[in-house]
């Protein structure tokens, strides 16, 4: 089962570097439709340019629209639905069930990824996702391994994705027991504390804040063995060096696992 590394961009000029670092796909936001400031999101025109770059390299582009939307927002997205149907964009990441409903009324071809921002994924939402022909589930960092194993086993037919929020040093925002703050806020290698995460297969407050600890190769391998072969790196607000470093680490881990 090949591993897909999905990295992110905050600017159309990042795309080449991020693909060269080892990403198989990139995702980015659409201006005015995410939780982030508009200066890290792209316009429809920029997105089309990035899509061309991706497809020339036989890579993919996903559009992330992961906040709750007004009726006008949804109608605006529906206006561009043919760009998804004709393959200009390879998929759309959504957290708004109303938007999924609106897209499915128009098209069964659009590849939909259910964002972890829909909330913690329980059985009913997974059944609903099946009925609405969602293709991919992005697993919430709050879920325990046992439950992830269970839902991957029970709900066949989905692609499964895990997310990591990148390379932020814990001491920027929390209190890492190692007491060592990384110089530029970007870890050189996996922070010592991350090795302690998932000790009992239960996500800690750290995972809830920072996503799955995919940058730890042992944890990444555990996810792979569960059947989760799409790995996403978040953190585009932290800048390009941060994303390139994280992408390379994930690519190295994936290469080791795939042999």
């Amino acid at each position: 089962m090949p591993i897909e590394i999905i990295s992110c961009i905050a600017n159309k000029t990042w795309a080449d570097d991020v693909f060269n670092a080892g990403a198989d796909a990139i995702y980015c936001g659409l201006v005015n439709t995410s939780w982030h400031k508009s200066d890290i999101e792209l316009s429809w025109a920029d997105l089309e340019q990035v899509a061309q770059t991706a497809h020339k390299l036989r890579k993919k582009l996903y559009l992330a629209i992961n906040r709750d939307l007004s009726t006008e927002d949804v109608d605006g997205i529906i206006n561009y639905i043919d760009l998804f149907e004709n393959g200009t964009f390879d998929g759309i990441i959504l957290s708004d069930w109303g938007c999924i409903e609106a897209i499915r009324r128009k098209s069964t071809k659009v590849h939909i990824h259910l964002s972890a921002n829909t909330g913690c994924v329980n059985e009913w939402d997974l059944k609903l996702a099946q009925e609405m022909k969602v293709q991919r589930i992005i697993v919430s960092p709050s879920l325990e391994f046992d439950w992830i194993r269970e839902i991957v086993k029970r709900y066949k037919g989905f692609e499964w994705e895990a997310i990591t929020y990148g390379m932020r040093c814990f001491n920027e925002v929390a209190h890492c027991p190692c007491q060592t703050k990384c110089d530029d806020g970007i870890v050189e290698s996996v922070c010592c504390h991350r090795l302690e995460l998932y000790k009992n297969d239960k996500p800690t407050g750290i995972e809830r804040a920072f996503g799955h600890a995919l940058l730890n190769g042992d944890v990444a391998k555990k996810f792979y063995e569960l059947g989760i072969n799409h790995w996403k790196l978040e953190g585009r607000a932290k800048g390009l060096p941060h994303i390139l470093k994280g992408t390379k680490i994930l690519r190295d881990i994936a290469n080791k696992i795939e042999g």
Partner: protein, 244 residues
């Protein structure tokens, strides 16, 4: 849209329930029900007893159960509990955040309110979501009064009441049940030493809203709902978190 200006009380699992408190409100919402992040010891027996107790003191007032935000692998358990409480007539409704559950809830005699909860707390909603859920006995949407755009969105839905939520008086009570304390060993219980506690205290003075992804909301300085906030069906007040 009702203009009956009712006052609801959100009773978190840590609140003392007594008649003095209940008398002041028109209906009640039980939160933290089977929530893995709240008290792990809140099982079906406890919830049923709480409902029986409230029914005994205020038999003519409605009780709603809130679907816990972190409802994961105990979703079957939650569904069974709701159905059981409904058939015993111990609850009158449920506040739901998963659209998926609406197909599986037996809804006879159950009022459904659609929750403000998404992972980042809902800020907007749309007609398409309303179309998805309207056939399932949904009588109201709830939201925080300060989310003006969301209030406007909900008011545009035909036949849907608006429940306004006050900001919680204090979520500081969560520090006693912090995620770190539950999941990491070696925590001293002192917020200044644990990872989550340091995060909270570091940012407390900045009055920043966080999601429940390891962060907590400090709402002590948040604006309170004014009772003249305009058209709404109910205001829901949060009981302060204090120990049973």
């Amino acid at each position: 849209m009702l203009h009956d200006n009712k006052k609801g009380l959100h009773i978190h699992q840590s609140t003392s329930i007594n008649d003095e408190l209940l008398k002041q409100y028109d209906f009640y919402i039980l939160g933290g029900v089977l929530c893995p992040l709240c008290r792990a010891d809140k099982n079906e027996k406890h919830i049923t007893r709480a409902c029986e107790y409230i029914r005994g003191l205020q038999p003519h007032k409605k009780i709603y159960i809130q679907q816990p935000y972190y409802l994961l692998d105990n979703s079957e358990q939650f569904l069974n509990l709701i159905n059981q409480l409904r058939s015993s007539r111990l609850i009158d409704g449920a506040i739901i955040n998963s659209p998926g559950i609406l197909k599986y809830l037996k809804q006879d005699g159950l009022e459904i309110v659609f929750s403000r909860f998404t992972i980042r707390k809902r800020k907007r909603t749309n007609q398409y979501l309303h179309d998805m859920i309207k056939g399932h006995n949904v009588k109201a949407f709830e939201c925080f009064a300060k989310d003006k755009d969301l209030v406007k969105d909900i008011k545009s839905f035909e036949g849907i009441d608006l429940w306004l939520r006050e900001e919680p008086e204090t979520f500081y009570a969560f520090s006693a049940n912090c995620l770190t304390q539950r999941y990491l060993e070696g925590c001293t219980g002192n917020p200044e030493e644990c990872i989550s506690g340091t995060y909270m205290l570091k940012n407390a003075k900045q009055n920043i809203n966080f999601t429940l992804s390891g962060h907590f909301m400090f709402a002590k300085d948040m604006p309170k709902v004014q009772e003249d906030s305009g058209d709404f069906s109910s205001i829901i007040y949060n009981a302060s978190g204090f120990e049973l």
